[in-house]
Structures are given as structure tokens and as C-alpha cells.
Amino acid sequence: MSVTSNATGDVAVNAAVVADRVDKTFATGKAARVDALMDVSLTVRAGEFVSLIGPSGCGKSTLLRIIANLLEPTSGTVSVNGKPAARARLDQDYGMAFQQAGLFDWRTVRKNVELPLELKGWDSARRRARAEEMLALVQLPEFADHHPWQLSGGMQQRIAIARALAAHPRLLLMDEPFGALDEMTREYMQGELLRICAQTGTTVVFVTHSIPEAVYLSQRVVVMSPRPGRITRVVEVPIAGPRSEDTRNSEEFFRSITAVREGLRGHGAAGAGADDR
């Protein structure tokens, strides 16, 4: 229990996300009730990178949407930056990126990045300056006046990240954002994401299907299992310092991958830093 108790120990001080005994049931028909989530508690510290991993139907995307207040939990509570999730959404306390970049084809790249600022009522000069800053951050400043369909999938996803971070939220929620990209682009994007997060100090909750991706990016990997969706294990990734391409060949990297894999298979606690619950 050491990992979770560590995580909940300093909740009051600086937790980005606290989910407390969250249940979610989808009533889809008369008989069919789906227990998407059962008794899920999770704390994400400010500045932390946490991945949610598990097979389809384990509720990882549902949990992310409950944190984002796009879904209401059936029971339990979620707070973001110390506020109820609904309040945090209205205050635009988080940015979100999805598997589909979800850029608007009728807007230029710049106007796409400006969208959240437009919704906040910023004036155009301020929006423009911030959009420039964000495009520089994702290293695509020369594409400001292009339209999204002129960009590759990886570029579109970088624009989506720039948009999600445009209002400088402290929390970034990502739902398999690199799931539709090829392996090479994917690894490049992982490096880019870590660089952006280090530069901005953003907390990230990241949903993925990929074990290496989860381990490479995260300080903690939350392993979930389906029917009912629940957290089965939290794997702490003991890689100190900033990650690089060399990280992918390190001993700790492989050991953590094994720990996550065993967690997914439902084996007993064996890997480094693994914590069965």
C-alpha cells in the first residue's frame, strides 16, 4: 500500500486530481447494466505524469471523462485542483486531447489554437500572441496559416496539444492521443510531450493501450481491469531524472514493462514498485 498512501498523504497540499471511491454504472437497457467503474480511488500529484492502462472496457476512458466532468460518476467524488470537477471544467482548469486530433477544418491552425481563448473572451491581440507562443512550443510556428487537413497526423496532434494547453491549464487530460499514429511518429511525439510538460510544468493523466508508451512517459502507471472496471495495480516507474531515447534501453524501463504486463495479466506482485490492491 506504500504507493497509494504516499500519494494520498499530501492530498491537501498539492493534488491535481483526487478521485474518491468513484462508481460508474451505465444503464443501457432494461436488463443490461454495465459496471464501468467500481470503487476507483486515485490521487494524482501536481506535476506528476500518470498513465491509465488496461484492456478495452476497463473503464480507463470513462475515468478520464469523469475527471473531465464530461460524465458524472454514479457515486463517489472527484476534485480537480482542489475544486469539484464541474467547477474545474467551467473554470477551464484542464485541457484535453483525444485520439482524433479534433481540429476544425474551417479554421486555420492559428484559429484552432485560439479557440479556447476565444471562449474565455480574450481580445484578438492577446489571443494571437498566445497562439504564437503555443505554436512555438510545439515547434510548428510556420504552419499558423495552414488548414488542419494540410498537416500530417502527428502535426495535427501537436496542434491539438497546443490548443489544449493554450489557456495554460495546469492539468492535461489525454485519451489515447497517439493511438492513431505510426510507431516512429508515436515515439517522437512521446518525446515531444515530455519536453512540453517539462517546459510548462503540466500535470498529465494519460490513457493508453501501449505498455512501453505508459512506462516511458509516466512516473506511475495505473493498471485497470474490466467487468467491473477497477484499479488492480499501480506501478511506480523508478527512472530518475529526465527521460531520453536511452531510457528505452534501460534496465528499469524493461523491469517496469514487465511489472505492468504482469499487472495486466493479473499475476501476483512481482515487479519493481508494484502494488496490488
Partner: protein, 260 residues
Amino acid sequence: MMRRALPPLLTGIGFLALWEGAVAGFDLKPYFLAPPSAILSQFTTNFALVRGAATVSGANALVGLVAGTVLGVAMSFVLSRFRFLSQLITPLAIALNAIPIFVLVAVLNNMYSITSEIPRRVMVTLVVYFIVLVNVARGLLQVQPTHLELMRSFAASDVTILRKVRVPNAVPFLVTALKIAAPSAVITAFVSEYFGGSQNGLGSRITSNIANSKNAAAWAYVLAACLLGLLFYAVSIILEGVTRRGGATHERATARGGNT
């Protein structure tokens, strides 16, 4: 541009030549098939009459097109706001599209004075209305789920989502609707004239000339009808070009991208 336009142009000229040749070669009687040359001379000598008739039919088509578009767009907003209405109205729209509803003009003629253009305009309006309604409502409703989740994550209200997502999403659907509706408006305006009322439009002139065995004159009005239909279609194509400014940017930008 010239190279693309040339083959169809030559085909058209060849077809007219064949037609002219067939009429002369087989000695076809004028009441059976008029040669293109006779049609053209009828068209030019009666140009004032033809233009007058085209103006009447064209005005009916245009008034109906505009009214039907305005009403269709307005109703599609109502439908997108109250989904249950869409379940009531869409089957009706499909049913009305499946039957030749211009027969309704006979009923409408009964309701208004015999010299009124209103029944024809109402008819065109109805036809255009349903085409626009079905398409624009689809554009307002068929929005990417990711876009909706994204907007909600930015705390956008329903009105903001309508303005920033649904309406821009529906614009190409409206253009498609107009491309279908513009020729339909012209056709409906002609056909409406077959059900009585003033004998002043292209449709009624075609029938009256045929009734008087003035075959070439009837064809001159058919030619005018074709031109009117093409004019309406051309305008809708230009409209499409205007709304696709992004497409133009695309070509410029990719050309630029090729250099870098």
C-alpha cells in the same frame, strides 16, 4: 482549362451536326423533328418573347428557391434544437420527396386566382424547402463526437457550440442542398405551368407551340429552359467555390510547401 473544355465542346458540336444531317438526310418533316438551324433562327427571331417567358419562369424559380432556402434553414435550426420534431418531420419530408409533389400545384391553383403566379412559387418553395431542410439539419446534427466533447471540455454553452461548431459544419451541407435545389427549382417552375394558370412561362409556351404544330418554336423555348437551368446550376457552383475558400488556400499552400 482549354484542353479540358475542348472534348465535350467538340462532342456537342458533333451531336448538333449529326442532328442537322439526320433531319436533312432522312428528310424528316418539321412537325416530327426540327433541325437545330431552324430552332436557332426561331430562338433569335422570337428572342423578345422567349426572354419574356424565361423571365416569368425564372422569377418563379428564383422566388421559390430563395423562400424555400430561408424557410428550410430556419426549420433545420428548430429541428436541431428539438430532436423529437426531427423524428416527426423527416419521414414526412422523405415521403413528400418520393412522390411527384408538383401535382399539388393543381390544388394550389384552385386556391388562388387563375392568373396568379403564387401557386407556382409556393410549389417551388415546397420542393426547395424539403431539400434544404433535410440536408442542413443533417449538417447541424452530424458533428464529430470529439468536437462536442472538446467544446464541453472548454465549458462552451449549447449556443456557443451551435455558433462555432454546428453552423460552420452545416455550410457545405447547405451548398450541396442548393446544388440539388437550384435545378429542381427550375424544373418545378416549368412543370407547374402544365397545370393551368397564365400561359406566360416557358413550360406553357412549349406545350402551346407544340399544340399549334410550331415544332421549331417549341424547341426554341426548350433551349431557353436548358439555358435557364444551366444558369441556376452555374450560380450554385460559384457559390460552392466561394464557400470553399479553404480549398483555394490549400492549393496555394501546398505549392508553397513544395518549395520548402
